[in-house]
Structure formats: C-alpha cells, structure tokens
C-alpha cells in the first residue's frame, strides 16, 4: 500500500518539477520577447505581444500550480514517513481541490485563446469575401472611423450568432469584455475567501451539529442537536447542566447591547449637533472626539481598570469605597464596562453623524428660523429625520458590534469574571467570550453552536432593522 503511494508520489513530483521548469522558461522567454518587440513594426509587434501575454499568463499560472503541487507533495512525504495516516486524507483533498480550482481557469484560458485566434482569422476572411464575391450587395466598407456618420465601424465574423454583415457602433469597449481575465484577477481573492470565509462558515455550522467532535482528528459520531441543547442548559452532560451560556453569556450580551447602544447614539447625536454649530475650533474638537478610535483597545481597557480600581481615581472623586472591577458584584462591574464601550464607540458614530449633518441643506434651518421654531423642535423635526439614514446605519453597525463585544471584557477584567483569570464563575462572559474560551478548551462543538446562535441573532437584527427602515427612514 505504502509502496504504491510512494511511486505515485515520485511520478507526481517529477511531473510537477518539469512543469515548474517549463513555467520558468516560458516566463523568461516572455521577458526576452519584450526587448525584441519594441523595435519591430506595428503589426508584427501586435502578434508578438499576444504571444508574450500568453507565455506570461500560462507560465505564471502553471508555475504557481506546480509550486503548490510540489509544496503539497513535500508535506505528504513528511506525513507518510510519520506513519500517521490521519492527516493524509486531508492533503489528498487539498491536492484535488487545488487541481480542480487551478485547472478550471487554465482550461478557460486555453479555450478562450483558441477562440480569440479564430476570431481574428474570421475577420480577415470576411474582408476578403466582401471584396471579391459580392461587391454589389454590400457597400464598400472598411473597418475604421466613418467620418460621415461619426461612428467607428468594426468588421465582425459572419459565423457569430445574430450575425450582420457589419455592425455600426459608437466606441465599443471590446477590450474590457475579457472573460478569463476577470477570473484571473479575482483568483487569489476567491481562493482566500473560499478557504477562510465560506468554508469556515459551512464547517462551523456542521460542527455545531456534530456529536462528540474531536478537533484534533476531525472525527465525530453522527449529527445531533445535542450541542444546542447543552449550551441552552436543556441537555445534561455528565449528569450536570452547562449553564454558563444561558446564565451569563447571553444576559450579559443583551444587557450590554441595549444599554450601550442607545446611550452611545444619543450622546453622539448631541455631541455632533453641538459640534456642527460651533464656529471656532470645530476641526480641532472633532479630532479630539475622534481620538478614542485610534487607540489600542487593550491598552485603554487597562487604563479603565486602573481608573476604576478600588483605590483608583473614581472612588477618590466620589468618596466611595466600591469594588468596580476586581472582586466586584456583577451589576456594579457592568458599569465600567458599559462606560468603556460607550467611550470607545463614540468616535465612529460622531464621525458618521457629523458628515451627515454637514450634508443637510441649510435652507431647512433658514425656513425654521423664519418661523421662529424653537431649537429642540428643529432638532426633532428637521435634524433627526434628515439624519435617519445615518442613524439607522450606525444603529445596525453598533448593535452588531455590541453583540460581538469581547476585547473590552478581556482588557478590563483580564478573564471571564470579576476575579480575573482565577474566576470560577464566568459572570462577565459575553457570547463571543464563550465561543473563544470553548474553542481553545476542548468543547469545539459548543463553541460552534454558540457561534451559530450569534450568527442567527445578527442576521435577524439586520433584517428587522432593514424592514423597519424601509417604513420609517426618511430619505
């Protein structure tokens, strides 16, 4: 068994090396041609350029392909010598995937190039047939610029569908109608998105349904809904209920969201309206309010935990003796967290709202002034409705951001609870915190289930807000 694999491996390796060498040679050739092309006549140059392009594209793609194959083969070899066959299948899949992914554009390129070549010949044929066979029925037409009609005339192959003897067009952008090239440009992005965005999405959903999933080996015993039962505290696991998710993660997240988002939006609205009415130092103050955006979240979180320390400045100012962070009660520990989140999320909102405010037509305000409308009414009846697209936008983004709160908890509390890393009860945990802490511990399926839950909530929020917006938002 192992021997045949080794032989296949050897053959593959040789083929890949030959391909790689060929690719290198073709790329070098392409570069040599550039030098030659510059001093040829126009027509010949055109042909040479196509050749060069073909060589470059083919050389590059084959080279990348061969390099990948060599890389994977090397990995395979190491895997085989380990005699551990678990990872083996994975690499086989990777090889297959790469071959298919890279072969498709290659095949497309090859097909397209042949088609292009035929097209060129067709046009030449057309021209000849026009001149010799039926000079009466067709008017004498040359490709090029027609002065009388002010159009560019292009000859097109009669074998094309919907054929016409000639087509009169304006300037037609034929060069950008390049099928295979678009895919070539998109190729790296598509591969990366497929590997690191789409595959994980599907895989995470899959893991959330897998029973006894072992992330080290990728083994599992069938599909089940148990994981969701476990995280919602319905299904017993080892005769005990897992309650951290329902008891701490979800309530904390919801609380944070519904406290911080309205406060932050309200504050941002007031600040940006006030900022907008300023005459002097407006730019400077705007910059000051933007500063929290350009900070390291962890660094400033540390500062907040110092400020809210038991012997910190907040307790000193208010002459209190509360434990805000370390060893605090859950309700009290929420306060610095909320303040931090609001502080950190203000700049983005102010920026968006301010740019919205500056786009509002001044005539509305002048009309209101003529009617001697009170200021609060101007704010409620003119500013807020006209700002509603921006407000909706920041509402959606900040709701989603608040549901994903994680770094702030780590930065301030240094752990899942108010006792830092030693906390037994994860009373400050958020949903995302739950996901991460279970990813690195061995409960990947629970983490996946929680992530799917988060995903669904975020999708729901987005849809509901778009629904509402279509009715309420004033555009």
């Amino acid at each position: 068994m192992n021997k045949t694999y080794k032989q296949i491996h050897k053959v593959c390796f040789i083929i890949a090396s030959v391909l790689f060498a060929a690719a290198l040679i073709s790329i070098i050739l392409a570069f040599v041609i550039i030098g030659k092309a510059s001093d040829s006549t126009f027509l010949v140059r055109d042909d040479i350029m196509t050749l060069r392009k073909t060589l470059l594209v083919a050389g590059f793609s084959v080279g990348v392909y061969a390099a990948l194959v060599i890389f994977v083969l090397n990995k395979l070899k190491a895997e085989m010598s380990n005699k551990d066959q678990s990872g083996f299948r994975f690499y086989l899949y990777v090889v297959l995937a790469f071959i298919t992914i890279i072969d498709i554009p290659l095949a497309l390129i090859a097909l397209k190039m042949r088609a292009n070549k035929e097209n060129v010949e067709e046009v030449v044929d057309e021209k000849e047939s026009l001149k010799t066979a039926e000079p009466e029925t067709f008017p004498e037409i040359d490709a090029g610029y027609d002065k009388e009609r002010n159009v560019v005339v292009r000859l097109v192959s009669p074998r094309k569908k919907n054929q016409k003897p000639y087509r009169v067009t304006g300037i037609e952008d034929t060069a950008s109608k390049n099928n295979w090239k678009g895919w070539l440009y998109l190729f790296p992005v598509i591969v990366l998105i497929a590997v690191f965005l789409l595959y994980p999405l599907i895989n995470t959903i899959f893991i959330s349904f897998a029973k006894n999933y072992k992330y080290a080996t990728g083994k599992f015993d069938g599909l089940t809904l148990e994981n969701f039962g476990v995280i919602f505290g319905v299904t017993k696991i080892n005769d005990a209920l897992e309650q951290n998710f329902v008891k701490y993660a979800v309530p904390n997240t919801i609380l944070l969201t519904f406290v911080t988002v309205p406060i932050a939006i309200f504050l941002a609205l007031i600040i940006s309206v006030a900022l907008n009415s300023l005459k002097w130092f407006q730019k400077f103050l705007q910059t000051v309010f933007f500063l929290p955006y350009v900070t390291n979240a962890v660094a400033i979180g540390l500062v907040f935990s110092v400020i809210f320390n038991k012997s910190g400045v907040i307790n000193f100012i208010f002459h209190s003796d509360l434990a805000w962070v370390y060893g605090a009660k859950r309700e009290i520990a929420m306060i610095p967290l909320c303040i931090y989140i609001v502080w950190h999320s203000l700049p983005f909102k102010i920026l968006i709202l301010l740019s919205g405010l500056q786009g509002i037509d001044k005539q509305y305000y002048q009309a209101a002034q003529i009617d001697s409308c009170p200021k609060w009414k101007v704010l409620a009846k003119i500013t807020v409705p006209l700002l509603s697209p921006q407000i909706l936008y920041i509402m959606i983004t900040s709701f989603i951001a608040a549901f994903k709160e994680y770094t702030s908890v780590v930065a301030i509390f240094n752990g899942p609870g108010t006792l830092g890393q030693n906390s037994v009860i994860p009373d400050m945990e958020t949903i995302v915190y739950y996901v991460y802490s279970n990813t690195s511990s061995n409960q990947t399926s629970w983490a996946a289930a929680a992530a799917v839950f988060l995903f669904i909530i975020i999708l729901l929020f987005t849809f509901v807000q778009f629904r509402v917006s279509s009715k309420r938002v004033h555009y």
């Binding site: 990995k75 952008d173 060069a175 950008s176 109608k177 390049n178 099928n179 090239k181 678009g182 895919w183 440009y185 998109l186 790296p188 992005v189 990366l192 998105i193 690191f196 965005l197 789409l198 595959y199 994980p200 999405l201 895989n203 995470t204 992330y215 103050l285 000051v288 933007f290 955006y293 350009v294 900070t295 390291n296 962890v298 660094a299 400033i300 540390l302 500062v303 110092v306 012997s311 910190g312 000193f316 100012i317 502080w343 203000l346 920026l351 968006i352 740019s355 936008y393 989603i400 994680y406 780590v410 240094n414 996901v435 991460y436 990947t444 992530a451 988060l454 995903f455 975020i458 999708l459």
Partner: protein, 329 residues
C-alpha cells in the same frame, strides 16, 4: 439711504402698541414681541446667541475633557510610583516623576520583541490585502465577465457573517496546515497573516472608487496600446491613491489592535503581538501576584503613541476611510 429716511420719519410715532389697539372685539391680536423695539429684540437675540454659544462650548469642552481623561490618566499613572498609584489620596500629578517605569518596559517587558512581531505581521498582511484588493476591485469595476455581479453579491453577503463564526474553523484549518504544532516563528507569522490578506469591505470601498474613474481614460489607454495591467498600475492605482492610503492605515491599525486570533494561534509568548503582551502576565509581581500598574501604563503609553503619531500625520485619510462607510446608509 431710503431706509434711514424711513426710520427717521417714523421716529416720533414710535411703534404701535398692539396691546392697546383692538381691531375687532372678536379678534385678539397678540404678538410676543409687543412693546419691544427692534433694537431691543436684536440685542436680546444677540445675548441669547452669545449665551448659547458659550453654553455649547462649555458642554463640548466638558465632554472633550471626559473623553481625554483616560489618556491623561494613562500618562500620569505611567509616571507614578507604585505607592502613589494605590494610595487612598489620588494625586492628579505625580509627586515624583518615575521615568524608570519606561526603562522597565524596554528592559524587562519585551516591548521591542512584541513590536517587531506586530510590525512584521502588519506590513505583510497590509501588503497582501492591498494586492488582493486592487486585483479584485479592478475585476469588479472594469472588466466584464459572466457571473461578475453574482460573485460580487456573494462577496457583499459575506460581510454580514460575524468574524467570530470563522475563528473556530480557521483555527482547525491552520492547524491542518501544520502551522500550530511545533510552531516556528515563520509558521506563527503565517498563521496571523494568511487568513487576513483579504477584506471584502476594502474591496467594496476600492471598487466604488475605481468605478468613478471615467471610461474615457481606459479607452484612451487602449488607443495608446496599453494593456489592462499597465492601465491598472499606471492610471487607476495612482488615481485611487487616497483610498489605498486609507485602506493601508485602517488595516495597519487593525493588526495593531488584534488580540483574539494571535492569542489563539500562537503557542509561544515570543511570537505574540503587542496587545497580547499588554494583557499578559509580564506586569504581575511574581511574589505578591499584584499588578504593577505603573509599568503597565508605561507600556500602554508606548503602544498608544505610535498610533497617535500615525493619526496626526494621516488624520484626513483615516477619518475619510472610516467615514466612507457611512455613505452606504
């Protein structure tokens, strides 16, 4: 001139006092500013305006100081002695300025090491992102091929997926690549760079920018015999430079702030990024387990200052890049 004459002739008559004039017994005219002269109204308005201006400035100033307070406290604390930090009487300026806190950051806490890692990861992931973003944006904005709009729609939809969703599987993927077990420095960097060299949002941003470049430029380049490739690098990229700078800076800041993923994938403290270092255990006294806040704050200042410098120099680009998102609404 005419107005002056008018007011002079009206002067002896003063203004009609509407309180005393009954036009019709059924209709009561009431005017708020009755009995006041125009000058009086103007002056009260002026006073009201000055008062509101002062009040707004006060309000904004107070809020601005609140926003700035954490920064101030960070700097102050970084210069304080340990005893002063935990004293019951907090001081708003350090009694003894402790510059030695900073020397600790550079000597005991491996600040330069973390910084090196962060900068390497930031440079490579930014370069990768720029490259993929330019290619994809060019394909979406300029080239025409079947399925382009469908692919773009799928790309946009992926923006709705929370990144947390991907972390689990991406962790499994990079460990399947063999980058987690027996991690070398290169593998650690690969873990932190490769999954982040593509950003759909930035592609969207750049595509919008590329679309604004007029078609005529493209056709002119074609007439001059330039290829797509040359057009992309010689015309489109220079024209979209402001957006590209915004993308670069935002990406750089993103790496500077990234905490979770590096924490998850790196197995050795030497390979971690600056945020992980800050939240690590380097500032805990080994004997007492208490946190040395002075050192911690000094390190925080060292992390924050480069970002501020970046912000001062590229304020326009950062704010534009962040604000660009709002146009969608």
């Amino acid at each position: 001139m005419a107005e002056e004459v008018l007011t002079e002739t009206l002067e002896p008559k003063k203004y009609i006092n509407f309180k005393k004039v009954r036009v019709n017994p059924n209709i009561v005219l009431s005017i708020e500013e009755a009995g006041k002269t125009v000058d009086a109204i103007k002056s009260t308005e002026k006073v009201a305006k000055i008062v509101t201006t002062i009040l707004t400035y006060l309000f904004i100033l107070v809020l601005a100081l609140t926003v700035l307070f954490p920064f101030y406290w960070m700097i102050i604390t970084s210069l304080k002695q340990r005893t002063e930090i935990i004293a019951t009487n907090q001081t708003f300026f350090p009694n003894i300025v402790m510059w030695s806190n900073y020397s600790y950051v550079f000597s005991v806490f491996d600040f330069t090491g973390y910084m090196f890692n962060t900068i390497i990861v930031a440079i490579f992931s930014t370069a990768g992102t720029l490259l993929t973003t330019i290619f994809a944006a060019f394909a979406f904005a300029r080239l025409q091929f079947k399925g382009r709009d469908a692919v773009f729609a799928i790309f946009l939809m992926t923006m709705m997926i929370p990144g947390e969703m991907m972390v689990i599987s991406n962790y499994l993927t990079v460990s399947a690549f063999g980058w987690i077990s027996d991690q070398t420095r290169l593998e650690a960097y690969l873990c932190m760079i490769v999954p982040f060299v593509v950003s759909v949002f930035h592609i969207y941003l750049l595509r919008q920018n590329f679309k604004q470049i007029p078609n005529e430029l493209y056709l002119a380049a074609k007439v001059d015999g330039k290829s797509d490739w040359a057009f992309l690098w010689k015309v489109m990229v220079p024209l979209a430079a402001p957006t590209l700078i915004s993308v670069t800076i935002l990406k750089f800041m993103g790496t500077w702030n990234s905490y979770v993923w590096p924490q998850l994938v790196t197995k050795n403290d030497d390979f971690r990024l600056i945020s992980n270092g800050l939240r690590g255990s380097a500032f805990q006294d080994i004997d007492t387990g208490q946190v040395e806040y002075g050192f911690q704050m000094a390190a925080s200042v060292c992390v924050t200052v480069p970002l501020f410098l970046l912000f001062i120099f590229f304020r326009k680009y950062i704010m534009k890049g962040v604000g660009r998102a709002g146009i969608k609404g």
